[in-house]
């Protein structure tokens, strides 16, 4: 918000702080083994929380790339998601996270991916209450953020992935996400379909590289071209897939 204010975005005359709703600032494991994170949990608490570190270390890693320690102490996971292009979104999409909203008629929930595609509250006046991450014990997570410097920098390319392998190098299920800069993080469902049930051969990977560049459709700006962003996304995802086969 501070950055937007500097850039000249005019704020509404009144802002209501939800900071005192401490119920929305906790992290817990649910009976089915998923993790529920309150939307008002600050990023640093998320990053260092034992449950997060144990159950989804990639999320901890991803949050560590958000802004600076001072900002992570103030900013919340919910705020990062509602920003629409926050750095926590790609890995949460790969993890197939769900969002819960406090609505007119009680709590409603939806897939994070649905929210990200829509980019607005589930209904007018709805308040994001928590984020739920399913159990990921069977699979492998991956996350990389590339910016124009090492830290305290917006993303130009972010990729994330979750996959479960069957025997003989065959992919059982996979979720691939790409985003960065003004590019809303998105699942690359076409790429995912190419891979499910397949063996990771060199030919398949070459075809995937082209598909990632095409499907991610990352757009560029004066600092990093579309072509660069797409190539980097493909390089990072491909080398990760190579490394697990």
């Amino acid at each position: 918000m501070q950055m937007q204010r500097e850039q000249g975005v005019v704020f509404p005359p009144h802002l209501i702080s939800l900071e005192q709703l401490r119920e929305l600032a906790d992290i817990e494991e649910t009976v089915d083994g998923s993790i529920r994170i309150g939307a008002l949990t600050d990023l640093e608490t998320c990053r260092t929380h034992l449950l997060v570190k144990k159950m989804c270390p990639s999320l901890s890693e991803a949050i560590g790339t958000i802004a600076s320690p001072a900002v992570r102490n103030r900013g919340t996971i919910g705020g990062n998601i509602l920003y629409g292009i926050g750095d926590a979104i790609p890995i949460l999409l790969a993890m197939d996270a769900r969002l819960s909203w406090f609505c007119e008629n009680g709590i409603r929930s939806e897939w994070l991916s649905d929210y990200v595609n829509r980019q607005e509250s589930l209904e007018e006046g709805a308040i994001l209450t928590d984020i739920t991450i399913p159990s990921l014990v069977k699979g492998h997570c991956f996350f990389r953020k590339i910016g124009r410097r090492e830290t305290f920098i917006p993303s130009i390319v972010t990729v994330a992935m979750y996959m479960e392998m069957a025997d003989q190098n065959v992919i059982r299920s996979i979720r691939i996400v790409a985003g960065g800069g003004v590019n809303t993080p998105r699942r690359l469902r076409g790429c995912e379909e190419m891979l499910v049930g397949k063996q990771l051969t060199d030919d398949l990977l070459s075809a995937l590289s082209i598909k990632i560049k095409e499907e991610s459709a990352l757009i560029g700006d004066v600092f990093a071209s579309a072509n660069y962003r797409r190539t980097v996304a493909a390089n990072l995802l491909l080398t990760e897939l190579q490394s697990v086969r």
Binding site: Q7, I146, R148, R149, T151, V222
Partner: protein, 751 residues
């Protein structure tokens, strides 16, 4: 040597130090400056009526309210304080407001209506030099031409076994000082004016302000220290004229403190340059001919653009002896932001090009680049780069040897733990002139006094901008006089209290403090001892100065307080000029420092990103005065240059800033800084050298970019010719040449 804590260290790291922008006075107003929305336009009308009517607004000024010269500029006052008919860049000021609050002043700016008729925008030197281009200044669009020729360039090229020709592009760099321009200007009851605004030369600001205000210089007091960084960026006037005009028109103190965005819009930057070099080498590895064309984008106004081009021309052949040199430089007015003073002063740009040439040439003839440098390097008695006699040292070879020793331990580029990364090592050397150069008024001076309270006061006109001048003054003064740091008080940066010492620029400070003490100490100590002898009834010869006072036979006989009591202060002053070459060659320098840099990089083949993993700088600048200050200058300079090499670029499009703030203009963070950052001082000087320690404010920034560029070549085979190096360029190059693919197959056997 003991690591001393600098006098201002504690206050700075605890945040207690009050900067001039922290000052507040009762009845103080806040000033804001209205700048042009167009890079080039004719002003048709200015209406300030509505702004004046806004409650809380106390003054609105335009060009009509400038009583003296409506212009500023250290050498040529060609920049209007407040534009009358033409605006030449988006930082040009058209009006200024003083109001009860920043918010009201900001609102008032919106109520000033200026009608413009946009004019064609000259957003590059090429456009500005086109036939028929509109003229930005009465003398046209060429601010300055400079050149240097020696030897027969064509016949030397004919003897060459290899010739390399390349065009290098370097960006517009932002100083990015932490404290943006600002301060408070206070009208005093007696009609005089006190200007509490950071600058690098208080007396020069006073001179310029007097000219603008039509007021005697003596009626203006400039308090110019301390500053939260400057790096050359606050050498020229910035907000002072507006604060002064508003303070005089309202009769109240006026504070102006620019936001970062206002700062980027109006401040000077490092000159972007396009440098074409054609350099030839013979089969034995001797450089024979070196031809250079420099085109500098100096932006809308002059400031020190001519001197910077002269400096670039002088340093074009660096520390090498080349029989034929042909350098032509041109500095061109455009409608871009004003380029001007910046740490390194034109040396950074040409050194990047020159050391790129050296590496390419060594490769072209298959010679080790260190060996080739050694073969061509200047020796102790060689003339300077413009054929002038210079202070003789063996600095060039010293730093080359020192850097070569580090370079010899470099890792082969294949040796990297990560299969998607490549390591590379590169080297570069340079020499850098201190002082303003021959033919430029470059006076210095200082004053030593024994005050009534027994303090020995040492005064200079210098400013503290983070560089550590206070520690330098403390160290040199106590060492030269033999007293303790508790015995002295330091007075700087206040035109009403200090002598003129010249500018706090051009790596002058350390050097001029040392030279001043050489001149002051003998007469000062003599007076002290004479008085002490009279007071104690002891022979002068048996007395000496020591910590706390006057000593005899290992005991303190008389404290400085006792020595001072009930008598007039003892005051000794000196005035002299920065040493120059005996050869009358315009702008030529005399005292040089030298550096040899070795950089190690890691290039990520998947992203093209470059991580500098090691940076070693070897310096020859005479004895180290203050170890931590020296280290700070060189390490800090190195990091600033790392930013210049890898990420910093004030991008302008059609005369408008694209990078308007520090969210898009990037400077390195701590994670971009190599953990292995080494500084080695080669302190030796010839026995007969009597110029003492040289300043090191700039030398740490000069040869870092080419060392990193050469390391990138070593890592992935890419020849860099444009800064900052974009990961995109690296990735494209490695992709085209199949470096990544080769890595995939060559590593399939496991690495």
């Amino acid at each position: 040597m003991a690591k001393k804590i600098r006098p201002d260290g504690k206050e700075k790291v605890t945040g207690r130090l009050k900067y001039l922008t922290d000052l507040a006075f009762s009845n103080m107003l806040y000033g804001k400056i209205l700048r042009s929305p167009y890079p080039h336009a004719r002003i048709l009308s200015i209406s300030t009526d509505k702004a004046r009517q806004l409650p809380g607004v106390q003054a609105v000024i335009t060009h009509k309210d400038v009583p003296g010269l409506n212009g500023f500029g250290i050498v040529t006052p060609d920049q209007p304080v407040l534009c009358k008919d033409i605006v030449r860049y988006v930082g040009d000021a058209v009006a200024a407001v003083a109001a009860d609050s920043v918010e009201t002043a900001t609102r008032a700016l919106e109520l000033i209506h200026v009608q413009y008729a946009p004019l064609p925008v000259l957003d590059s030197p090429e456009k500005a030099l086109e036939e028929g281009a509109p003229l930005l200044h009465p003398n046209g669009n060429v601010l300055h031409r400079a050149g240097f020729q020696k030897g027969d360039i064509e016949s030397e090229f004919a003897k060459c076994a290899a010739i390399v020709e390349e065009t290098y592009h370097v960006p517009r760099q932002l100083h990015a000082y932490m404290e943006t321009e600002g301060g408070v200007i206070v009208p005093e009851k007696d009609g005089s004016l006190t200007v509490y605004v950071g600058t690098q030369h208080g007396f020069k600001d006073r001179f310029q302000l007097a000219r603008i205000l039509g007021m005697p210089e003596e009626h203006i007091r400039v308090v110019s220290s301390p500053m939260g960084g400057s790096f050359g960026g606050k050498d020229e006037l910035n907000i002072q004229p507006y604060g002064a005009l508003l303070a005089l028109s309202t009769g109240k103190p006026v504070k102006i403190h620019q936001t970062r965005q206002e700062s980027i819009r109006s401040s000077i930057k490092r000159h972007p340059m396009k440098i074409t070099m054609k350099t030839g080498i013979d089969q034995d590895g001797r450089l024979r001919a070196h031809q250079t064309t420099i085109v500098a984008d100096t932006g809308a106004y002059a400031t020190l653009g001519p001197a910077i081009l002269d400096f670039a021309v002088e340093h074009t052949s660096g520390p090498y002896m080349i029989p034929a040199v042909d350098t032509k430089g041109i500095s061109v007015f455009t409608n871009n932001g004003v380029s001007g003073e910046f740490r390194g002063f034109g040396g950074n740009q040409v050194t990047f090009a020159l050391e790129g040439q050296i590496d390419r040439l060594a490769a072209a003839i298959g010679m080790d680049s260190v060996e080739m440098r050694r073969l061509n390097i200047r020796r102790e008695h060689d003339l300077g780069p413009l054929g002038q006699q210079i202070a003789e040292t063996n600095g060039a070879l010293d730093v080359l040897q020192s850097a070569a020793a580090v370079y010899a331990e470099k890792k082969p580029s294949s040796q990297n733990q990560d299969r998607w990364k490549r390591t590379g090592t590169g080297m570069a050397i340079t020499m850098h002139g201190g002082g303003l150069g021959f033919g430029r008024m470059d006076p210095a001076g200082g004053r030593l006094s024994l005050k009534e309270d027994g303090k020995i006061e040492i005064s200079f006109g210098f400013e503290e901008a983070g560089q550590g001048i206070l520690a330098v003054i403390e160290t040199i003064t106590t060492e030269q006089l033999g007293c303790a740091k508790e015995d002295i008080s330091i007075m700087i940066g206040d035109t009403s209290l200090v002598p003129s010492s010249g500018s706090t620029t051009a790596s002058r400070g350390t050097s001029m403090v040392w030279h001043s003490l050489q001149r002051l100490k003998k007469p000062f100590l003599q007076k002290l001892l004479t008085r002490a002898a009279r007071k104690t009834g002891t022979k002068e010869g048996q007395l000496s100065i020591g910590p706390g006072g006057i000593w005899e036979n290992g005991e303190c006989r008389l404290s400085f307080r006792e020595l001072a009591s009930e008598q007039a202060p003892i005051v000794i002053s000196t005035q002299f000029d920065f040493p120059v070459s005996p050869d009358p060659i315009d702008s030529a320098h005399f005292l040089y420092t030298y550096s040899g840099v070795v950089a190690q990089v890691e290039v990520d083949l998947l992203t093209g990103r470059i991580n500098v993993t090691e940076l070693h700088q070897s310096l020859s600048a005479g004895p180290v005065v203050n170890e931590m200050g020296y280290l700070g200058q060189i390490e800090g300079g190195g990091v600033m240059a790392l930013g210049y090499t890898l990420m910093e670029d004030v991008i302008m499009a059609d005369g408008h800033y694209v990078t308007e703030n520090l969210d898009s203009y990037l400077i390195p963070g701590i994670k971009d800084v190599p953990f292995n950052l080494q500084v080695k001082a080669v302190e030796s000087l010839p026995a007969e050298d009597d110029y003492g320690p040289r300043g090191v404010g700039e030398i740490g920034t000069i040869a870092v970019a080419p060392a990193i560029a050469n390391a990138i070549y070593d890592a992935v085979g890419l020849r860099v010719s444009q800064l900052p190096v974009k990961p995109e360029t690296v990735l494209k190059s490695t992709e085209e040449r199949g470096v990544l693919h080769g890595s995939q197959s060559s590593n399939s056997g496991g690495n």
